[in-house]
């Protein structure tokens, strides 16, 4: 495990990407790392593509991940995994939620949703870990925990232990949603080696 790293979160506006990146940042901060995180607000919402860059290490200057240097990509939607290929390198891990959300041109019937698009990543020897985070969220009984299930799956690729994440959930999530989010985290974490 590296002493510094770059985690890229991608998905569609409204999927809870900002909270996922926030929990991850808090876990890295609790481990004593310097952390910088960059988001884009405004137009990026309203169902458009959304990304958050998280960088951690002894001292972080740039808030942006460079092309070819994301160690982990946490993609909340299949197309939004493939879209960030230029950010990946051959040792990147890609945790991808197998949900499909149709972009407008596809919903309008002008284009088709590309089949087997993750092959573009696996063909380049990138480690792709598909997760049905929607099913996990359904199973724990709260559809809005898709993002925390994704954080759980991703946590397998970090030096930070799961107990740190659980403590972060304890201190950042509203009391009535804590238990269900912890369950989603654990289930997401377990899903990777299932």
């Amino acid at each position: 495990m590296k002493q510094s790293g770059n985690i890229l979160f991608s998905g569609v506006g409204g999927q809870g990407i900002l909270l996922a990146s926030e929990l991850t940042a808090y876990a890295q901060l609790a481990e004593g790392y310097d952390v910088k995180k960059s988001e884009v607000h405004g137009m990026a919402q309203r169902g458009g593509s959304v990304e958050a860059h998280l960088r951690y290490g002894a001292r972080v200057y740039s808030p942006l991940i460079d092309p070819g240097s994301a160690d982990i990509l946490v993609a909340f939607e299949i197309l939004e995994a493939a879209r960030y290929l230029p950010y990946l390198h051959k040792d990147s891990a890609v945790v991808v939620n197998t949900q499909k959300i149709l972009p407008p041109a596809v919903a309008l019937g002008k284009m088709t949703y590309p089949e087997n698009i993750l092959k573009e990543l696996t063909d380049r020897q990138i480690n792709v870990v598909p997760i049905d985070a929607f099913a996990i969220a359904e199973e724990v009984g709260e559809l809005r925990t898709v993002n925390v299930a994704m954080v759980g799956a991703m946590s397998n690729f970090l030096a930070v232990g799961p107990e740190v994440f659980l403590k972060v959930i304890d201190t950042t999530v509203k009391e009535q949603f804590r238990e269900v989010n912890k369950k989603a985290f654990e289930a997401g974490r377990a899903a990777v080696y299932a």
Partner: protein
Amino acid sequence: MVFDNETKQWLSGNEAIAQGAWEAGITVASGYPGTPSTEIMGNFARYDDVYAEWAPNEKVGLEVAIGASFAGARALATMKHVGVNVAADPLFTAAYTGVRGGLVVLTADDPEMHSSQNEQDNRNYAFAAKLPMLEPSDPAEAKAMVGRAVELSEQLDTPVMLRITTRIAHVKGVVEKGERVAVPEPSIEKVPAKLVMLPGNARVRRREVEKRMATAREMAESLPENRVEKGTGPRGFIAAGTSYNYVKEAFPDAPVLKLGMVWPLPEKMIRTFAGSVEELIIVEELDPFLELHIKSMGIDCHGEDIIPNQGELNSFIVKTAVEPESAPEVFEPVELPMRPPNMCAGCPHRGLFYGLSKMKDVFVSGDIGCYTLGFLPPLSAMDACVCMGASISMAHGMAKALGEKGEGKLVAVIGDSTFMHSGLTGLLNTVYNNSYATVIILDNRITAMTGHQQNPASGKSLTGEPASAIDFEQLCSSLGVKRITVVNPHDVDATRKVLKQEIASPEPSVVISRAPCILLPEEVKRKKPTYYTNLDNCTGCTACVQMGCPAISWHPLTPEEAVEQGYREKQRGYAEITEVQCNGCGQCACVCKFDAITRREED
């Protein structure tokens, strides 16, 4: 919060600026929402013993801050980069009057235009208005620089500009907590020679401006925010703002002159640094601002000859611009369907733009807000958009240019908050100069695009207190508009009928398209029944698909599949509502002529 201990916090640049403003003893803040500046005001309002407000536009906001400063209070005005264009009038003359309480003018620039119509570089305003400008590189510096700006403002008797960019405003980082300084007591003090800018007084103040800038230039030489970071190698870099971060990542060992004050510049410091390196490279986003002024000192350097002058930078771009041979191979992007932002499912604007999309020979003069997305296919119902408030005046200008040829073909669309910002005067002009364009006010009861800020039409203040709400019908009537119609845009048929009739009318008319933003908390709470598709009845006519609602998707069929599913062989597909995404507006049911869309009645 996990990371909120005695000394440190995890804050965005905008949160840090709010904290910095509070610590620096700022008590009055005013601004207009605009990405990426918006969150500063909402955060500042949460502190004790401060006043924060949304002004109708940036000019008013800055004038409020100037007034507070004249009363001896410390004040802050916030705006996005283009907002400074609106506030430029008071800004240039406040440079002459100077201040009483410290006055900070925050500009949030948007390189790459993530959420803006241009990427102007507002460092040029500091030069043009003759004002000191500070520029932080991260949230921690952003907080500290508010304090420094207040200090310089009072010391030099001038407003001080604080410039941030998207990668400061919306970047989170670790920020040290601080204590609040003593807050000065406001009072009335009459100093007309300083504050009344008639020519006689202004000529005296003009000389003060030059004296003060000379002092500021001298102070810049020893300001801790300007510093040389020693290093090795033949190349030296000068950088400020987020560009500094990219230099530090790309060339960690190189000597760097980091500028925290980007105007006026520390000439001696720059000259000494330039003399200490073999090759000087200025790394900056957008305009070659530092480069031009450094070159005008007679110093040879690289800048926009190698560093791109458009869009954002990152350390990869900086590294490969300086050392092209170092460029590593990266994976090429895959061709994929784009995912642009879209109006939400249930958005009231959709019903209105659907009506406009059917009037192919009408020119739609647009404005700035969520509804600018009416430009996107399939609605494609906006033909121009320049700046806040321009829709109405542009439509009037077209009417005057076209004369009779334009009759029945000119429409302006403008949101409620944008109309309050700068649409009023345009409408006044339309009536006064006897035009015929139709003005549509998209009244969704909130400033939606920037994340639901209150405005003078919404009935609440920034802090959620009840406030006076403008009555658009009465307002337009008192401006002299005779034809005023209110429509519910969810009723697509009635809306189309009114649009046809009003656009055809040869006198100025106003259509108020009124329905609240479906994302407003009170709207979300009273969740309406959703609609579903009776697939048996769908003929594949695509009328509903043409509305571009994210809850409706098209499923293409081959002739065999069509027959298999009981459709006519010729039917090329069917449309279906994704009910979890449906917000129950019913617009699609209005346009379906085949009874294929039904409201799910509650059991």
